[in-house]
Every structure is written in C-alpha cells, then in structure tokens.
Amino acid sequence: MSPVVTGLGVIAPSGIGVGDFWPAVRDGHVALGPVSRFEPNPYPVVVTGEVSEFEPEGWIDPRITVQTDRFTHFALAAAGMALRDAELDPRTVPPFEFGVVTASYSGGVEFGQREIERLWKDGPEHVGPYQSIAWFYAACTGQISIGNGLRGPSGVLVADEAGGLDAIAAAAGELRRGAKAMLVGGAEAPFCPYSMCCQLGLGLLSTGEDPTTAYLPFSYRANGFTPAEGGAMLVVEDEEAARARGVDVRAVVAGHCATYTGTQRFDRSAEGLLRAAEGALAEAGVDAADVDVVFLDALADRRADAAEAEAVRRLFGDRADRVPATAPKAGYGRCYSGAAVLDVATAVLAIEHGTVPPTPGVRDCRFDLDLDLVTGAARAADIRTALVLSRGQHGGNSALVLRRPEPIQGGN
C-alpha cells in the first residue's frame, strides 16, 4: 500500500491556487512586501510575505468566518481547493476512513489578541463565545473535519516548521492502517502585533527593508528569514483507491524520518538533518544517489545554512555539488507550520513539470557550502525522487521523500 498525493490546495504570498502559485514560483518572482496587516508598524521586521489578495468571502461560509481566525480561513480554503483538485467528493469515501491532520505553530493569534484585549480592557464578560474554538491549535483540523463531513482518524501535530512533514507522515500512517483518504497540511497567519512580538524573540527574523534582498538563504548576505502567512493542504490517498477512481496520482509519499537536536541549536542540526534524510530514504527504499532534487529548509542564518549544507554534503558525498538544491520559499517567506507543506506541494509540481524552481533573489551562493543551489532561472530536470528538508524552531529536523509515480503498465 502506498500513500499518494492526488490534490493540492495552496495559499501563499506567491499565489492562491496552484494555477497562480506555480508560475510565480517557477519564474522566481519575489512576493514579499511591506507589512500591511497592522499599521503603523513599530517593529524592526518591515518585510513579510502576506497573502494580500485573500478574502474569506467566496471560500468560507460567512457564519464560520466570524468564528475562526485567519489561519483557519487559509486552511479551510486550501482544503476545499485540494478536494476539488483531487476531484474527490468526501461522501464517496467510507465514513470513518477520511481524516484530517494539520500541523500548527502559533494558532489563531490574531483572533486571540482581539479577545484577550476585550478581557483586559473591558472585563471577562466581553470575551466572545468563539475564542475557545478559534485560538487553539486544533481549530483547522476541527473546522475542516466539520466543514467536509470527515469522520476518520484526525490529528494535530506541533513541531513548528518540521511539523508539516511530520503531519504528512502521520497521514500516510493512517492510510497504512486502513484509512482511504486524508486531508493534510498546515497554515499560518502570524501577523498581528502580539504574534510579531513573540516571533521577534526568535532572533532569526530578517530586518531587511528591501523585499528583493530581505531573505537570502545560503548567500553571503544571509541575515535571517522573512516570516510569511499562508500554507497548503494536500489530499493523500491510498494508491489503489486513487487508481480505482481513475484520478491522476501526482506523487508517492515514500519515506519520512524525524530527529531532534536541541531548541534553536540550528548550528547542531547537520547531524540531525543527515539522519532524518537517511531515514526517510531508507523507508522509501532508495539511495542518496537516487535523489534528483533537494528542497532546503533555508533559515538564512549563516550557521544554520552551513549546517544544512553540511548535511547535504555528507548525504551525497562527491555528488553534493551536482544535486540541484533549491529554496523557493525565499520568494514568498517562511510560513512556519505551512512552510514545509508548501515545499512538498512545490516538489509535486516540480516532479510533474520536470522543472526545479529557483531560489529567488540569491545570486551569490556561498562557495564554501558546495551546494548546487538553483538560482536565477528554473532548471529542467527529470525528477523521479525529491527530498524535502525542514527544521522546527524548537529543534526538530524532518525529511520527506516524494517519488514520481510509476506509469501504469499497458496491456492487460
């Protein structure tokens, strides 16, 4: 039994829906811009990745819109897109065999700040009835389940950025145990003042003022990452079920592994990422030599970048400077629990189009890293195996291996 990706729902600063997102990412557009979610901006981070075009109208039942935070709006809209993309009507799946897993990082902070403001300013009786379901980390899984009538095995995993890959692995595990379909992914909307206040403490956010140079991973000018909002949901199915209903199998979720090397000790993550990658490849039944492209975590911190490059170097040995590696998120920012899920969606598209999208903005990849970082323009490549790497703010290192599906054999 193989878990396969059959649908993608993407909401990112680069585009809403795969139709907008892929060309922008393929062409290396930079979708970062000045902060507009609150004004004036008194904080040192002035460039972020915002999904400025997104309004919940048309995507979400207005009754639900007022009960939920923006991160759940993203997740609900992305889930709907993924279902349509997969041409999957949940009512056709056995009732207890369609579940939802989301990754989370910061929850519904903007909704939360509004309600906690009411409490402190006006008193406890002014806190609204939806705070208890809008702010908490399980809001997206719960609303997606209810909105689509999904009664299968569901979950919420928190390992920050790496949690996005862990969630996909958890969904794959549910399929192996008998579920027929899973919606899985993560979304983030971290741009209210209090959330920004919390993130500043990470000490990793870029304070660059020029959107075209704010987030330059693996560059000599790397000076932190640009936070983003958005995320992605995927439909992952049992391969046989997908083939039986005649839908395109987009990619196989072939292997995953997670390790931990200490909170904010990204300098120590080389060994952790290497072991995660090796574990994921082993589960996928392939060798490092089979990997055709690597989607990098790309923290844009000098030591973190060096550690990630070291992991890649040790994984591929002599081949390290010939395996294309890329960080498309440099063009739209890092949306925490949604970041790695967007990378997985991008990897699926890269496999389908035979194209490795570039790392936007970066022109001077550090020579000492020995990476074949794809910069400038996209590169044509025959991709059978893609490796996605991710690190969480609290020290998790995760790797996911995607494989191009084998063509269906002809004849009888």
Binding site: P42, A138, R151, L157, D160, C198, Y260, G392
Partner: protein, 418 residues
C-alpha cells in the same frame, strides 16, 4: 512482526498532591481537589473554582533558569518526566531511537497572557511594546516547546513533537507515541501531556460558553459527572508522563513492565466544534477500533475510565457510546471519572487518566466517581460512586472527547509475559 508497547515509567503532577503516590492516594480515597481559584483574582468571573496544583517548582527540583524559561505547564511536564524517567531506570544505547511525544490543548496560555498584559499596557495598546516582552516569550507561542524541554531532560534525538488535539491531546499523545514504536521509528518514547490553563483568558473562554461549573459556594462538590445536579466541568491543571518502550527492549534489559498500550484509535464527529451528539457513534467507533487493535472484545474490558467531564451533553453522549460498543457489558463493567476529583485539565487530562489506568491495573483498584449523589436517570451504568473498589483488572479502556470533534480511545492491558 508486531512491535508491542510496554509502559515502564510513570510520573504525575496533579491537583491534590504531586507525584504518583500522592495522586493515587487522592483518587483511591475519593477526595476532591477542587477549590476557589487562588492563581489569580477571579472576582468578576462566572466560574471562580478550579482544581489547582500546589506546585513549588524549586521544591520539585527545577533550577531558577528552568523556572524562568518554562511556562507553568512545561514545569509540570518536566517534573512528571523526571519521575517517570527515574522509575524506568532507562538504559538506552542510542539516543536517536529515543523520542518524545507530548500533548497540550492550549499551550503556554499563562505566559502568553502575562506578557500580553505587560506589553499591551493591560490591554490598552493593540500595537504591543515588544521591548517589554520576556526573553522567553517566543517559546510560549508554540507548544513544541513542551516536547523540546522534555527531550532535553532525557537526551532524546529521535522524533520529538507535540500533539494538540484539544482535550483528547493527552490520549492522542500517548497513542501517537505508541505508534512511533509500533512503526519502528523509535524504541523508547517519553509520552505525556501537560496543561496550566487556570488564567483569566481561559476561564473567561469557558465562562462565555457556560461550559464550566458555577458552583462557587461549594467547590469541593462542583465536579459532578453523571450526577443529575451537575452544572459543567471544573477546570484543572497538571501533567502526566509515561515512558513507553518496545516490549523486547524492555524485556532484554529486565525492566519492570507496568502495563501494555494495546490499542489506540481516534475518530472525529464532524458535528460541532464543542457539541456532542446524543448517539456517541464516533466515540463508539474509536473504542471498537482500539479494542480491535488490542484483540479484545467487550467482555474483556474490566474498567472504563470515562471522559466524564460533568456536562450533561458529555455524560449522555458517552453513556450512549459505551452502550453502543460494549452492549450488555456496558452494564456490568465499572465506569468512573476521575475528573470528579482533579477537574478537567484539558489537553493534560487524557495522560493523567492513563496514569490512573496504569495504577488501576497494577494496584487492582478502580478509582471512584466522587460527588455522584443523585444519578442522572439517563446515565444508567455503574459509575462507581464515591468509593474505590478492589478488583482484578486485566484490560482497561480510557476515552476522551475534545473541542474540534475529536473522539479517542486507548486500551491498556496488564503486563503479561510475552
């Protein structure tokens, strides 16, 4: 080959006493730890009662630096993990095969609210002043910090993550951890959950939906699952940690096996974020799947640790679920809710209840449901009112319901020779 999951360590921080021993004494005595809120001034709130931990972090062994860095719920988990890890006397060659899986529903609410008040000038400023924030505030934003702190204490290098499925997080964290072992992704996983939600915003949240008890004049008798005179749950806090270990790994090193995690399943009701159906179909389904994994039938279940939150809707929902999945056995098997004594600590309670189940198996005692004076006629099972019972237990079932529609079930069995 099926990899089985043993429990080889247990640690608890709970209202009414810290440590496994004090916890079990409270439960078996049928005493309640619910009282007026002392952690903040609750005047002006509808519900002003809670089950609080009398917890001194320094006395519990945490350093000043740890106390400064950790929100209260992380402190609980750290202390519970220390107790569990000590009991397990772990001898582990490879830290990359050691994982951590923690649960929490609302994470660092207490710290987030404290720093919000400071940086917003007590709610006056929407554009909070980041310069006034604690240097550790970023660790409060994500409950991954909970798993990371536990991982650092035990030296884990394997999979480390937090499960945050609302009020089933404590069951789901242990279930997810067991799967990491079953799927050969780890040999040992430190699993558990923690919560410290007794802060103004969380109390106000539950006030707003009238989910919590307002029996402010009689807090000791406020948590009344299955009782006709119940009026909601009583908020609690605490943590429990279980050391889970692959069966052969435990056997080879001669570890004392306390219990086996024999089955776990979760299903969603797709019904309502906070409401429950009267039929309990999805909970019954989760229970059936967990029993299937454990290869047990209804007649094998010797004790059911109920969700028993003390809301009318819950008590009827799960009573219906038990009838649906256990059939005639539902009327024979003792069913109790320890929330009657230690309140409902949201994401933590599932792990605390599993700790109680492990103790029930090892001690041969069913903990009671306190305050059950006038049974709700619609809840017609044996809820073990007031008094603990000695009983030889081989298999126990623990269930939970969570905001978001989660329904989870874990089956634990008495340790037996392989």
């Amino acid at each position: 080959m099926t990899r089985r999951v043993a429990v080889t360590g247990l640690g608890v921080v709970a209202p009414g006493g810290n440590g496994t021993k004090a916890f079990w004494e409270l439960l078996t005595a049928g005493r309640t730890a619910t009282r007026p809120i002392s952690l903040f001034d609750a005047a002006g709130f509808r519900s002003r009662i809670a089950a609080e931990c009398d917890f001194d972090p320094a006395e519990a062994g945490l350093t000043a630096a740890e106390v400064a860095r950790m929100d209260r719920y992380v402190q609980f988990a750290a202390v519970a993990a220390d107790e569990a890890w000590q009991q397990a006397e772990m001898d582990l060659a490879d830290p990359w095969r050691l994982g951590v899986c923690t649960g929490s529903a609302v994470g660092a609410t207490t710290l987030l609210e404290r720093d919000y008040a400071v940086t917003s000038n007590a709610g006056a400023d929407w554009l909070v002043d980041a310069r006034l924030a604690s240097p550790f505030l970023h660790r409060a934003l994500s409950p991954a910090a909970l798993a990371a702190e536990v991982a650092d204490r035990v030296g884990a290098r394997g999979p480390v993550r937090t499960v945050s499925t609302g009020c089933t997080a404590g069951l789901d964290a242990v279930g997810h951890a067991a799967r990491l072992i079953e799927e050969d992704r780890a040999d040992v996983v430190v699993a558990g959950a923690a919560e410290s939600p007794i802060s103004p915003i969380a109390v106000a949240c539950f006030d707003a939906i009238r989910a919590t008890s307002a029996r402010n004049d009689d807090p000791a008798h406020a948590a009344r699952p299955f009782d006709l005179d119940r009026d909601g749950f009583v908020l609690g806090e605490g943590a429990a940690v279980l050391v889970l270990e692959e069966w052969e790994h435990a056997r080879r090193r001669g570890a004392v096996v306390l219990a086996e995690v024999a089955g776990f399943a979760t299903r969603s009701n797709a019904h309502h974020m906070t409401g429950l159906t009267a039929e309990g179909v999805e909970m019954a389904e989760a229970v059936r799947r967990a029993m299937d994994q454990a290869r047990l039938g209804p007649d094998d279940v010797d004790y059911v640790n109920a969700h028993g939150s003390g809301t009318r809707q819950n008590d009827r929902h799960e009573t219906a679920a038990f009838r649906r999945v256990l059939g005639a056995r539902a009327y024979e098997v003792p069913v109790s809710s320890i929330k009657s004594m230690i309140g409902h600590s949201l994401g933590a309670i599932g792990s605390i209840e599993l700790a109680a189940c492990v103790l029930a198996l090892t001690e041969g005692v069913v903990p009671p449901t306190a305050n059950l004076d006038t049974p709700d006629p619609e809840c017609d099972l044996d809820y073990v009112p007031h008094t603990a019972r000695e009983r030889d237990l081989r298999a126990v079932l623990s269930v939970g319901s969570g905001f978001g529609g989660f329904q989870s079930a874990v089956v634990l069995t008495r340790a037996r020779r392989s």
